[in-house]
């Protein structure tokens, strides 16, 4: 029958299409990437692979085009900054010969000029020397209107100019003394540092295309400056860095293999199975499972983050009770954060914090968190005039019920905390109106209907940090930063205004003497504590897993892979 013949024909055709597609597609993912068996021949000094899982893929490797954590931390491998930070978050010179200070003349007496000496023995991976011109070029690229860079902080607001005094000397002029330079000027901090661009590679691109937005180097930075050098990046799959034999301190490993594993549960399985050596952003409830096999160690690394409550004290938008410091104190006393931490987290990793900077030594406070004391909370509320006059179980005053808008993003842990807190508050007669927002909405500015910026809350919860390891986060509490229709860019979403606080924040920002600055921060934190402007929930360190197969891994909160050249695999 003809009909059957057609069927057969079409089946054959479609089968061949499928086979052809299969056959055509396979080679696309397997270019000849035969790796030399380094440890067998003995010809290569490097051996072993460190496999790291990233739950998010870097968007761009050019430091100017990304603020992503997962892009920033790769730079410890292939693009060293002037300095990185060790496991105690102390600066370690990388491209700089030494850390500038007042003693070595690097920091001028008026604090407005920074002079940085470069090491003389450092070259780009292609052999070209790294000079001050590269830094000047980087600054120019950041400030150019032709490049759509991710952020111009702090260069736009604080830096007057960046100059090359001689090939080995960079001079940075500030508009006013800038205390946060160590973290923010060409440093190895993945969130705040910018790194340096190779001028000899990118200047020709800029001249030809008028922008470096689309430079090949952004996704394949084959010229770098670190113990490893970029080898390949296959979108969605992996990034490989190979040992750079020409670096001043050559690594021991042959390659770093970063695998993108977006699913948390799959990352967990890969860690347990030993398919990955290092993983990050684990949660405390995973620790037992991960460490059960005996090969994996989970390490808590402080990177400054503290989970906290931000009370709204803006008279325009807040619940009237929030303006009374004793009510805010009562809220802190009525919340059993110690039980929350014990039940929902790991109290040894996430102890209750008292201040915004408690996870950022040496700027942390020695304050004790407000205790759980519901009786004292009731007494304070009674004294403030908030009593349950209508017998509905919630306190009220002048016809206004004490129901507070308690908002956060839609993270599951925070929703659980909201539920527990609602129950705890009800014991002292405080009502809770819970609201959750998607993360992008939650942090939107005033003109984009951000709920915090517009003050549509009484208590907002999230985890935040200054520009770690620097404590700087002044904008959050300065009077002139209060967000409103007239000042939509304001970052003081709590509406807090206190001339004393303004003075302290402005003073510390221009104080380059660390000891003096620490003293300012003690005063700032005492003031915030007394006025209950920040209620600490818990310290929020990053949880990393490290397989014992990989040795000498000393993670830092500020630049995690700072000592990658010392890593080696166990024999």
């Amino acid at each position: 029958m003809k009909r059957n013949l057609y069927l057969l024909l079409s089946l054959v055709v479609s089968a061949s299409i499928i086979l052809a597609a299969c056959g055509g597609a396979v080679p696309a993912t397997e270019p000849p990437a035969a790796e030399p068996p380094a440890n067998e021949s003995g010809a290569s000094a490097f051996s072993g692979t460190a496999t790291i899982t990233f739950t998010q893929e870097p968007d761009n490797l050019n430091p100017l085009y990304t603020t992503m954590f997962f892009s920033g931390i790769t730079r410890d491998f292939w693009l060293k900054a002037l300095w990185s930070f060790d496991e105690n978050n102390q600066p370690v010179p990388e491209l700089a010969a030494e850390i500038p200070s007042a003693e070595n003349g690097g920091v001028s007496a008026d604090g407005k000029t920074l002079t940085i000496k470069l090491r003389e023995d450092i070259n780009w991976s292609d052999g070209t020397p790294i000079t001050a011109d590269d830094f000047v070029f980087t600054y120019e690229m950041i400030m150019s209107d032709k490049n759509i860079v991710q952020t111009r902080y702090p260069y736009e607001d604080y830096v007057e100019s960046v100059e090359a005094q001689d090939p080995q000397t960079i001079v940075v002029h500030f508009k006013e003394p800038f205390a946060a330079w160590l973290t923010n000027i060409f440093s190895g901090s993945p969130s705040a540092g910018q790194g340096v661009l190779p001028k000899h590679v990118l200047q020709p691109v800029f001249d030809a295309e008028g922008t470096i937005d689309n430079a090949e180097w952004n996704k394949a930075p084959t010229v770098g400056a670190g113990p490893f050098v970029f080898s390949e990046w296959e979108s969605g799959s992996h990034i490989i860095f190979k040992a750079n034999p020409n670096w001043s301190t050559p690594p021991k490993l042959e390659q770093i293999f970063i695998r993108i594993v977006p699913d948390d549960a799959a990352q967990e399985a890969a860690i347990i199975a030993g398919d990955t050596d290092i993983g990050v952003f684990l949660s405390s409830d995973q620790i037992e499972k991960l460490e059960a096999g005996g090969n994996v160690k989970v390490v808590a690394v402080a990177s400054g983050y503290t989970e906290g409550w931000y009370p709204n004290v803006n008279p325009e938008t807040a619940h009237p009770a929030m303006l009374d410091v004793n009510v805010r104190k009562a809220i802190a006393l009525a919340t059993d954060r110690f039980t929350i931490v014990k039940d929902l987290l790991d109290e040894s990793i996430n102890p209750v914090s008292a201040s915004f900077w408690d996870n950022n030594p040496p700027y942390n406070s020695d304050l004790k968190p407000y205790p759980y004391d519901p009786e004292e909370a009731k007494r304070l509320l009674d004294a403030a005039g908030w009593v349950d006059s209508n017998g509905d179980g919630t306190r009220d005053k002048d016809g206004v019920e004490l129901v507070l808008r308690y908002i956060t993003n839609d993270r599951e842990l925070r929703k659980n905390v909201q539920a527990v807190v609602t129950q705890q508050w009800s014991l002292v007669g405080i009502g809770a109106d819970l609201q959750n927002y998607s993360s992008d909405m939650y942090f939107n500015g005033y003109n984009d209907n951000g709920p915090q910026a517009q003050g549509l809350y009484d208590i907002a919860e999230y985890s935040d940090v200054g520009s770690f390891p620097d404590p700087e986060s002044s904008s959050d509490w300065l009077c002139d930063q209060i967000s409103s229709a007239d000042n939509p860019d304001g970052l003081n979403w709590q509406g807090y205004c206190n001339p004393k606080m303004d003075e302290l924040l402005k003073e510390q920002a221009t104080t380059l003497d660390t000891a003096k600055r620490i003293d300012f921060y003690k005063q700032i934190q005492q003031l915030m504590y007394d006025e209950v402007i920040f209620i600490g929930m818990w310290k929020d360190p990053d949880l990393w897993s490290v397989n014992s197969r990989l040795q000498n891994v000393t993670l830092s909160g500020a630049s995690p892979f700072w000592n990658a050249q010392e890593w080696e695999t166990a024999q």
Partner: protein, 343 residues
């Protein structure tokens, strides 16, 4: 026939326009691409405004759509923020072959799709072949022995397979065959990725890494498909012409293969024809869990960052594939079933 195909293609073009407008409107609800930029801290306000201006996100939605469609290289943009446009745009628009650049990676969308498409096709086509052959075999066997032990067993298992959440199935398979098998000292499979970095990108590695994701995809789909084949074959087997064939003494093997199967396969072809364009889209959940660098992951990752040029690119590509494969299916149909005349 060719006039039919031309006419169908002609209908497809306005269809795609309407689809693109609807999709673009939906994109507006995806959130703000410059809100977090994937970082742990929110973007500074000054940077947000500068980025919106430079990326053209401050323009009204219809201008952004027209830029996406036909480009903006004749229109000046204000890049330095002084209020006067001074630089010509760089986009040429999708109609002139420019699919735009990702807001996140700043790379051309077409290049990004090109990176992922082969990976997705390897996985999805393999899975689809496994699914089609197994469900045909299972469905046929069940239909020939309805209500037998095998049929009942398969029916039961289909329902289990059909009702299993993909992510759960995927993780279970991973834990059993990759984590526990290794612990128990049995031959085990890898957890995630496409190859082992210590071994390199060899075909053997690829196959090893494909077993679990393909199994996951197959288990979920075979369940439904085999039921479909079974009922379709059962229906045909009860037709008069089958009885006639049997009465004429045609061997039952021939009855099934030459008379029943081709007729029963008709609706199955439609089903597969609908499926094929979506092979391009990849499998969002399976790719995510097994860290397979395919299209599904690309879509989800860039949805999270509200990267509309990439999302539009993927969706339009799939829309085009749907239109084309619909036509192909109809044409094949007319070959397979002579009752259907196109024209």
């Amino acid at each position: 026939m060719s006039t039919y195909i031309l006419r169908r293609l002609g209908q497809g073009i306005p269809q795609l326009f309407i689809i693109s407008i609807i999709l673009f409107m939906l994109m507006q609800a995806f959130g703000d691409p410059v809100a977090t930029l994937g970082a742990r801290t929110p973007t500074k306000q000054a940077d947000k405004e500068r980025l919106r201006r430079m990326l053209g996100l401050d323009q009204p939605a219809y201008v952004q759509y027209l830029t996406w469609l036909v480009g903006n290289d004749w229109r000046k943009m204000d890049l330095d923020g002084d209020g006067t446009p001074e630089t010509y745009g760089q986009r040429r628009g999708i109609l002139r072959g420019d699919w735009g650049n990702s807001l996140v990676t700043r790379r051309p969308v077409l290049e990004m799709i090109g990176d992922r498409l082969p990976n997705t096709l390897i996985l999805m086509i393999t899975a689809e072949v496994v699914i089609i052959t197994s469900s045909l075999a299972i469905g046929l066997y069940s239909a020939l022995r309805p209500y037998s032990l095998f049929d009942n067993l398969i029916t039961g298992l289909s329902f289990v397979g059909y009702s299993m959440p993909v992510f759960w199935l995927a993780l279970m398979l991973m834990y059993i065959f990759a984590v526990n098998f290794r612990r128990w000292g049995l031959p085990y499979l890898p957890t995630v990725g496409m190859f082992d970095p210590e071994v390199g990108k060899t075909p053997a590695e690829l196959i090893k890494h494909m077993i679990l994701p393909v199994t996951t995809l197959a288990i979920i789909s075979i369940a439904g498909y085999s039921r479909f084949v079974r009922s379709s074959v059962l229906e045909v087997l009860s037709q008069d012409y089958i009885r006639t064939a049997r009465a004429k003494g045609v061997r039952s093997f021939q009855v099934v293969l030459r008379h029943a199967l081709p007729n029963a396969a008709l609706p199955f072809i439609t089903l597969i024809g609908l499926d094929i364009p979506f092979l391009l889209a990849g499998a969002v959940v399976t790719e995510r869990i097994f860290a397979w660098p395919g299209m599904g992951r690309l879509f989800i990752d860039h949805t999270a960052r509200a990267d509309f040029p990439v999302l539009m690119g993927i969706l339009i590509l799939i829309s085009i594939a749907v239109v084309i494969f619909q036509i192909i299916t109809d044409v094949i149909y007319s070959f397979v079933d002579p009752r259907i005349r196109l024209g």
